[in-house]
């Protein structure tokens, strides 16, 4: 009886995970970098939505486009230029550097808010609509729809547009792509900026449904890592499906086992996939190896 409600709740959470994982996966697929600070951009997006509504009275659906996306895009480009670019082939140092960013961003947020928990008010906060007898939370429904549209659009972009083809070329063979006249460094900057902007956009969209704390980033980044590995590294469509699977599994285990154990459950899932299919459900063999 409760099953449909739990599954729908899981799909909603999964939509968030998918949106966060898409950017992470894009960066991995094209630049071959794992950004440990990815979740912090979700946090920035949430704070951005909060500040915009507090100072200018803008709702999250407007401020996300007007403020959050441009600012975090530029921030992402700068990080790519000054932190990621010098460490392109040094994977272990990338871990340190992006982890440093994670710690830095978390604590800037902590120092700025002094650890206060904040919530964004929006007209969608408490509204819900009824479909097939199920009451659906509007905020989360929007996130799910956006996640589906975004992943579809990114896949289409990568397949058909000339820039998308350039990005795929760079991800497959950096040297040859350079010879073909593709500006590899600019491609990297755009991809990194886009990934951080998508994460922050996701943060702004979910801000009416969640309270913001400085450490909230990891609670989205950790499942997003699981999603990326589950769905296949570098596979955008895999991120969406992987995100929805992780969301539903989390909701089901939260309902039928215990909410406190949801992490443990998706970790077991994640280990199982790694053991059975190290390249992920939609990834290709060989993707897991870096350089």
């Amino acid at each position: 009886m409760d099953l449909p409600i739990v599954v729908v709740a899981g799909l909603f959470t999964g939509g968030i995970y998918a949106l966060v994982a898409v950017g992470l996966n894009l960066v991995f697929g094209v630049i071959r970098v794992v950004n440990f600070a990815h979740g912090e951009f979700v946090m920035f997006g949430m704070y951005g939505a909060y500040v915009a509504s507090l100072w200018w009275g803008l709702g999250p659906y407007i401020s996300s486009w007007l403020i959050v996306v441009p600012v975090t895009f530029v921030l992402g480009v700068l990080i790519q230029k000054f932190v990621i670019q010098p460490l392109l082939r040094q994977h272990l140092m990338q871990i340190f550097a992006t982890f440093g960013l994670l710690i830095l961003f978390q604590n800037i947020a902590l120092a700025a808010t002094r650890g206060e928990t904040l919530t964004v008010k929006s007209s969608s906060s408490s509204s819900s609509i009824e479909v097939f007898g199920l009451s659906l939370d509007v905020t989360r429904l929007i996130v799910l729809i956006v996640a589906v549209i975004f992943t579809g659009a990114i896949m289409l972009f990568l397949r058909t547009s000339i820039y998308g083809v350039a990005m795929r070329a760079v991800s497959q063979d950096r040297a040859t792509a350079t010879l073909m006249g593709i500006n590899v460094n600019r491609t990297y900057a755009v991809v990194f900026g886009a990934s951080t902007a998508i994460a922050a956009f996701a943060g702004a969209l979910i801000s009416p449904a969640y309270s913001v704390t400085p450490t909230i980033g990891l609670s989205f980044a950790l499942p997003a890592f699981a999603v990326v590995i589950l769905g296949g590294l570098g596979s955008v469509g895999g991120s969406l499906v992987g995100g929805l699977i992780v969301g539903v599994v989390e909701a089901l285990s939260g309902y039928y086992i215990d909410p406190a154990l949801k992490q443990a459950v998706w970790f077991v899932l994640f280990l199982a996939v790694l053991i059975i299919r190290p390249a992920g459900l939609f990834g290709q063999r060989g993707d897991v190896e870096m350089d």
Binding site: H91, Q94, F96, A97, G100, I103, N107, I229, M290
Partner: protein
């Protein structure tokens, strides 16, 4: 003489993912290296004696004595992490799991069952070895960055489980009642930690100079070539992880015995344990014997001191500083302190030759 040296330096730069302290030159044992091995042992002993002198000098000053003692303990932990993380190149961010196994074993067996903490420490070490053995196969299917992610997620799961169960003390953790603490003197703890550091150093040196050390470096530098030459990468990495895990569990147990309480969020903290221990190794010099110890001795007391000094600043300031330090070191100081010293000495020696 200068030309091959330049070529080698160039090669080192291209494969510069955490550099090993063992250059290829060292693989050929020569009379000179045998002599330097003996002087090396002597200088390790000398350095430990110097640390003991520092402890004696600080006796009476509880605050600085405490800083020094914990610094020595974290130097030992960095040294233990370095066995798999540095020599083996397996970048674990989940050593908090082994740290936690040691800490929980000591606390729970002491408080709930009245065991001797030293016996509990042995149990913790054995449990940690078992945990490492069980985790090795799934984790080592991952390599590089994915191994780091896997171990990080693992630490988060361990944290979630530790606050979920009631028998672990839940979210409140465990406090060892004052009457149950066997040693309450900071100086004695400093000496115990120093003994532990000596043990970690000795293990680390034996690993590097023995067969396992060469296997670990071989697996790190070239996985396929190492397995073609007969070193099973999984077996080699598993043994490295188990050794590192056992030492880390002992360190965790000792630390909790010293503190007298166990707080789950700090035991499994990514910033204070999981990433902090590798950071100590990085600052000192990953993959060298001395580097991690040096990093621990310098950085851990420094950050504890600054955290205390700048307590008036907004929360998170000292942590933000650690974040900046991580970024700067990763970008500009990858060899660490000891790596720089070694390079300097090598250049000087070459010039003399």
């Amino acid at each position: 003489m200068t030309k091959p040296e330049q070529v080698q330096a160039g090669e080192e730069r291209t494969c510069a993912s955490a550099k090993s302290g063992l250059s290829l030159k060292k693989l050929k044992p020569s009379h000179a290296s045998m002599v330097s091995a003996r002087t090396a042992w002597a200088s390790y002993v000398g350095a430990l004696v110097a640390l003991a002198v520092v402890l004696v000098l600080l006796k009476g000053d509880e605050y600085f004595l405490g800083l020094a003692a914990v610094g020595i303990l974290f130097a030992a932990l960095a040294c233990a992490w370095n066995i798999i993380g540095g020599f083996g190149g397996q970048f674990s961010l989940g050593h908090a799991v082994f740290f936690g196994v040691g800490a929980y074993s000591v606390c729970l067996l002491r408080v709930n069952h009245g065991w001797s903490p030293w016996l509990a420490l042995v149990v913790g070490a054995v449990l940690s070895a078992i945990v490492a053995l069980l985790l090795a196969w799934p984790l080592f299917r991952l390599s590089g960055v994915f191994f780091a992610i896997g171990t990080m997620v693992l630490a988060e799961v361990a944290f979630a489980l530790s606050i979920y169960f009631e028998w672990t003390g839940g979210a409140a953790g465990v406090t060892i009642p004052f009457a149950m603490r066997t040693i309450n003197d900071t100086f004695t703890w400093g000496v115990i930690f120093l003994g532990f550091l000596a043990a970690c150093l000795a293990v680390s040196i034996l690993v590097v100079r023995g067969r396992l050390g060469y296997y670990l470096v071989a697996v790190k530098e070239n996985h396929e070539a190492a397995s073609a030459a007969g070193a099973s990468p999984l077996a080699v990495k598993t043994i490295g992880l188990v050794i590192s895990a056992v030492l880390t569990a002992i360190g965790g147990g000792l630390f909790i015995m010293y503190l007298g309480f166990l707080d789950p969020p700090s035991v499994f903290s990514l910033v204070d344990v999981g990433v902090f221990i590798p950071l100590l190794a990085l600052v000192g010099g990953i993959g060298t014997i001395v580097g991690p110890v040096l990093g621990g001795l310098l950085l851990q007391p420094a950050q504890a001191y600054f955290r205390g000094e700048f307590a008036d600043l907004p929360p998170g300031t000292s942590q933000a500083f650690i974040g900046v330090l991580l970024i700067v070191v990763a970008l500009y100081f990858q060899d660490g302190i000891w790596g720089k010293v070694k390079n300097f000495m090598r250049k000087k020696r070459d010039r003399r030759d």
